[in-house]
Symmetry: C2
Subunit: 493 residues, 2 copies
């Protein structure tokens, strides 16, 4: 009886997952191989899958099975975790009425199209009214979800359960002065980067990306690397995880570090326990931990001299004309150059967090109602001047640069910074657990690194939230001084 009820829970959970992953296959196909003229019907097909999965998630019979399972007392620890976590997700989902969900979907659609138009015309004011409507709805959503301290917490926790305004304010207060110091100390050194912008053949770059992915430990029989307009990672199970890259023939960096970044995301998904398919323990825990995995590989490993000690000769083998003359030291200086710039996705490891902080500040105040949508562009530009010392020439290079607001993702941005911080903290712990790790990496051996991540992070799925996991792995909660030490260590070289 007991057993069959849990089996029922698992079966229903997996049917829901099957639908959600099927929608993800349709999305992946849409971004990679789908012929252009079927976009409209494809969107409708994806909507049917998502809506059906949603209906099944909030089906009272499904909730009832979970409630019954909790009343019984003989579930194993993992079974109990699966039921508890899923029930919590379902109860959160059910707070929103179908009418609210529809309203949000319509408003997002309008805002998204206005954002596209505003970007094309390079004019924030075109987007502002639709964004305001969306912000108002997000405020309403915060009230629906409920919060203790700050309404922004309710939105934030959609992506990052263990974060809050209180926590983030402290993180940034600790972080920013140190970052400013590092920026002042190391920026604008006269660094040669021209060799990164020679002509790099597209097909060769794709081969190079596939080589890197394989070196990182992505099993070729469980992954693919394809080309899309924006790089992304998606998974349809822990045995089918796909990454994409973008290739610019005049840029060695974009494809290289995009692939390593997405490869880090993919290794996380590939490391989740397949026997928990469709259940919380088979799912990543939070966006910041996901981002910690991509930033870990991209920056801690992939912008490390030990890594390139082995892989620069390999890159030279792929691109002899462009790179054979380049010494490791020169290469590493170019790779780790710090310079304030306008676009987040192209920012270095130091200035990156000013971009995030400015977004966070604006989001938080929009939701609190202490600033107004129409002032975003002005505030944005002032903050860039104040914190990064640069003038924003137009909205396209400013507050219109990212898609997130237009699709209603308020509360998402801070996870990027948290991800970098967790990454540095994990990297620090890996090094203290394995004092020879950099020497191993300099021999092209990345397996100890991967196994450490599998063992300490991947295998747990959603069992621990970000802060619990951080504590378990590093014996400490989030500590931004470790990130600052990591940067100082890197740039003082």
């Amino acid at each position: 009886m007991m057993d069959s009820l849990y089996t029922e829970f698992v079966e229903q959970s997996r049917k829901i997952a099957d639908l959600q992953y099927a929608a993800a296959v349709l999305e992946w196909d849409k971004e990679t191989y789908m012929p252009a003229k079927s976009a409209e019907i494809r969107s409708q097909q994806i909507a049917t899958l998502s809506e059906t999965a949603h209906t099944w998630l909030i089906d009272p019979a499904y909730e009832n099975v979970m409630q019954q399972l909790l009343e019984q007392k003989d579930l194993s620890e993992n079974e109990l975790d699966n039921v508890k976590i899923r029930l919590k997700e379902v109860l959160r989902l059910k707070k929103k009425t179908p009418a609210f969900v529809r309203k949000m979907s319509e408003t997002v659609s309008k805002a998204y199209h206005k954002w596209i138009e505003a970007r094309r015309k390079n004019d924030f004011s075109i987007y502002a009214p639709a964004l305001e409507e969306l912000i108002n709805l997000k405020k309403e959503e915060a009230e629906i979800y409920g919060y203790e301290e700050h309404p922004y917490d309710a939105l934030l926790q959609e992506y990052e359960e263990s974060a809050s305004v209180e926590m983030l304010d402290k993180v940034f207060a600790d972080l920013l002065p140190g970052l400013s110091e590092i920026l002042e100390k190391y920026k604008n050194k006269n660094i040669d980067t021209h060799f990164l912008h020679k002509k790099y053949d597209a097909a060769k770059q794709l081969e190079w990306g596939k080589y890197l992915a394989e070196q990182m430990g992505l099993d070729k029989d469980k992954t693919r690397l394809d080309i899309s307009e924006h790089p992304f990672t998606t998974n349809f199970s822990a045995t089918d995880v796909r990454i994409t890259t973008r290739i610019d023939e005049n840029d060695f960096s974009n494809n290289t570090w995009s692939t390593i970044h997405e490869g880090g995301h993919a290794l996380y998904e590939l490391g989740l326990p397949i026997e928990e398919y469709g259940l919380p323990l088979g799912t990543f825990t939070s966006l910041s931990i996901h981002e910690s995995q991509s930033r870990f590989w991209e920056n801690c490993v992939g912008k490390n001299g030990a890594f390139w000690y082995h892989y620069l000769p390999e890159a030279q083998r792929f691109f002899p004309e462009q790179l054979s003359e380049i010494k490791l030291e020169v290469f590493m200086q170019a790779v780790n150059r710090i310079e304030p710039s306008l676009i987040r996705t192209e920012a270095d490891e130091v200035t990156y967090h000013f971009h995030i902080y400015i977004r966070y500040l604006i989001e938080k105040e929009l939701i609190a109602g202490t600033i107004s949508t129409k002032d975003i562009s002005k505030i944005w530009n002032e903050k860039y001047k104040e914190l990064l010392g640069i003038d924003v020439p137009d909205d396209k290079s400013g507050c219109l640069q990212d898609i997130h607001w237009s699709i209603g993702s308020l509360g998402y941005f801070p996870t990027y910074s948290l991800g970098s911080l967790y990454a540095a903290q994990f990297w620090d712990k890996l090094k203290s657990d394995n004092p020879n790790i950099e020497s191993e990496i300099s021999n092209g051996n990345l397996n100890t690194t991967l196994q450490w991540l599998r063992q300490n992070i991947h295998q747990y799925g959603k069992k621990y939230d970000s802060e619990q996991l951080c504590k378990k792995v590093t014996d400490s909660t989030l500590d931004s001084t470790i990130f600052l030490k990591y940067l100082e260590d890197k740039f003082s070289k």
Copy 2:
């Protein structure tokens, strides 16, 4: 009220289609790009989609909407057709109990695996017991569906509503003597085909396939050509139709005529009315008509001297080394060579139908109970000797060659022959409607041909069954003498 009830019918039909097409996307991905190790979970995801679509199809509420619509009297003709045809499909589906469906699925799974093993070990007897179990279940299925004359009719009509044993017996009785005559007259001429087996670079062949598909009128923004183990066509709407090809570097023919064949299937799907998405009028009418479209392009057009008058020079441009010395006459003789052989999929236009006939004969008698499963191999080999004059050396080249039985598709084979016959009849009518059509084709203009098919066949979807459509297009029912005349005309050249 009226209007909204039909809208409800359309919406539910489209949701079902969305799920079925999503399953098709997952299948396509499985055959083209999916990493190997995710086969198991992918099958489960596809099963969830298919089962859910099935549940929705047989939902009493859906049937009830259709019954109500039929009671009302003010549907348009097309609306009425959609409701009537769909209701008939649903009522047929509902005849099978869930227990029967499960039993069939398990039996098919067992038979399929035994077939794989039997092929590997080249021994029909390994497969025979599982096949017998499957045949018994198919007999049961025939009883469930019901029939008037012959139990095989019930299975046949799953694929081909207007066909029956009575009809097929007559078709083959008319066809076979004529085919034997043509075979005797034209076989074993001393024909040079060596140039078709030179080395043809795989990438170049794929380019050539894409070129051919485009020439046929496949819109690049609505189609793709990819590589898979077995060529197939699949569609996810009339705006997203995909074909695949198989490439052998030592064979010009396989990729060329596979691509043209699948291209013919694809043009049919692309010509269906998109506004009828998810409804019977937006769907192909039958397998034989689908096959008529692929055989039309592959044989009537694609093995026609007029076609190669224009396209041989193009092929020579793609493959100068291999083909530049080859004269049109020599090329056409090689292309249209007749020779009895063991494998259906590699057979010429004449001997092909002996393969089909032998299968049909065996299937029919198995279902009637006049022969027994264990004798298949013996009967097969005797019939090949009797009708094609060749000795079957082993089961792998004999009765184990095709997948159809192992997946329970009894009744499918005859549609291949019907398709060729309909194709010849449509081709005949196209030529009489457009006396200059071959001269147009010889100028590389395939558009009149395509438009004629769109106008006469594609646009109707499932409105007419095969025989009604044939009558409407050609003013005659199926007439195998036209096919014989078409062959005589071709081979006497």
